[in-house]
Symmetry: C2
């Protein structure tokens, strides 16, 4: 059990990864964006799905994390994604995150082989925790079956929590299935297991049910509003605030999300370099971008400037 | 167009990767197994799906390839898997394979992000080919939608072949869909594009239709017979030989394949260390192994000894 509440609870963003013209990570843009998010009250789930985290090498992820620490971005607000297909890579990234002082790590199961057993997944997570062997380690399990195709069952959570109390600290549920999120909260939240919804669509429901918050892509582009809604969830007007968040999300969600969010930041900052995505993703075409802009203007959305 | 026929045509095996007790790759067992396969006339598609290739780090794959070359296993018989989620990793592995003299590489598309466009996949393959920039490079595309969930369409093949003639050299079709394999052969084989079926189940059909052979997991444990069938496909008795191959495959295929093949090698060599698989896979339980043994004994199957 965690003796103290995590410094991560509330709203986090799988931080978008900007690229240079040669598709190497753009360190300067990345640090600036992370600073802006922290200033808005948004935690940094760097190297998540919407970060194109799985399109980055281990060395690139280590270097970006080091750049944040060197820039005095607080590791107490960081939950880097460290789960990969290959056990040695997951161990290396997790160890590096712990040594950098990160408050937690967000760990995908190994996702290449499909239809694997809970026994195999248990061994994977256990092997990482045992190899890192650091009392500071806090693992947040990453359940995203629509993308990873390999999910994390309640039985597996229960077994991991029993074997590694205090280390296995929570989950991000990106199933999009509220019944699953609710079941995980009901089963494990009372044990100090922090349940994050995978999008702000479920933010209010999650907090009302006893969850910890959300880790949401759109916190990259609507962070202040999402964080304010989370902070004031018990106050009057919560449902109206939730509805306003939903309108912004809808505009991004009906386009390719990562490219759409990058386009909004490009417009907001006047820096078209922000539009770049690494293959296999592609940037928005001109027509899709015009449609996004029209939808965002119609709801009075203010694009991110990354000013702090 | 390839000026000369590839030294790879015929039968290849996604070579099983043996592990030590600490789950590090077992170099000695690996080299011995590769030597035995080459002696049977089987090419080495190391680091494939059945190699647990995506459970290995880039450094581990580089070291295993170096160990083979150092042991004088011929690179003219090697088609290592080099496709990963992350472009820099795919580039590094592909460059290393070319520099080691490998006759080709087997390249998965980036497989974390689902529902990506042909444009994005084209950019991924093109970025690797452009970065490696070596006239010796021969890329075999790896189409395995049941596992990777990201496939390679005929439109994409056509575009890559047009842009990189001679470099884009063939495909492994592990769709399990003969209609797709046939369509790829019909569209591209005449241009010198080598089509390999993803299992010996389709070996005779593939060769009769004008394909190059097969790259099959069970070539790890039935290599001599599969290679002999491929070599004699025009000779009388081809259908009977195919039926015999199918009986062996069926015994392995109805269990978890990788663990089952490793168990057969463990029994054949008397080296139980061969049973180890890396998480998230698990070894066969005792009852499943007994069932496999009974099925193999019933068809008079001789287990691999790895003697050369």
């Amino acid at each position: 059990m965690n003796a103290t509440a995590s410094t991560l609870r509330g709203v986090l963003s799988p931080v978008l990864t900007p690229f240079e013209a040669d598709f190497s990570p753009s360190v300067q843009r990345f640090v600036r964006h992370c600073r802006a998010l922290v200033a808005q009250g948004v935690g940094l789930a760097v190297f998540g799905t919407n970060s194109e985290g799985n399109s980055l090498s281990v060395a690139e992820k280590r270097a970006l994390l080091d750049a944040l620490v060197d820039a005095d971005v607080p590791p107490s607000r960081m939950m880097p994604g460290t789960g990969t297909c290959a056990l040695p890579d997951t161990i290396e990234l997790t160890r590096h995150a712990v040594q950098a002082g990160c408050a937690g790590v967000l760990m995908l199961p190994p996702f290449y082989y499909k239809g694997v057993s809970d026994e195999g997944l248990y061994r994977s997570f256990a092997a990482v925790i045992d190899a890192v062997a650091d009392p500071r380690l806090r693992v947040y399990l990453y359940h995203i079956p629509p993308v990873a195709q390999v999910g994390i069952s309640l039985t597996l959570i229960d077994r991991l929590l029993s074997a590694y109390p205090g280390v296995v600290a929570g989950i991000k549920d990106s199933s999009g299935d509220w019944n699953n999120t609710k079941a995980v909260i009901d089963a494990f939240a009372a044990k100090g297991f922090d349940v994050y919804a995978g999008s702000e669509t479920f933010l209010l429901q999650t907090l009302r049910a006893g969850g910890a918050g959300c880790i949401s892509a759109t916190a990259n582009v609507n962070g202040a509003a999402i964080a304010a809604s989370a902070a004031a969830w018990r106050e009057p007007g919560a449902d109206e605030r939730q509805a306003a968040l939903d309108r912004v999300r809808a505009a991004f969600q009906k386009r390719p999300m990562i490219a759409a969010m990058k386009a909004a930041i490009a417009t907001g900052t006047g820096d078209e370099g922000w539009c770049r995505v690494r293959p296999p993703l592609v940037e928005l075409d001109a027509e899709t971008r015009r449609g996004l802009d029209a939808d965002l203007d119609a709801i009075g959305y203010a694009r991110p400037t990354l000013d702090t």
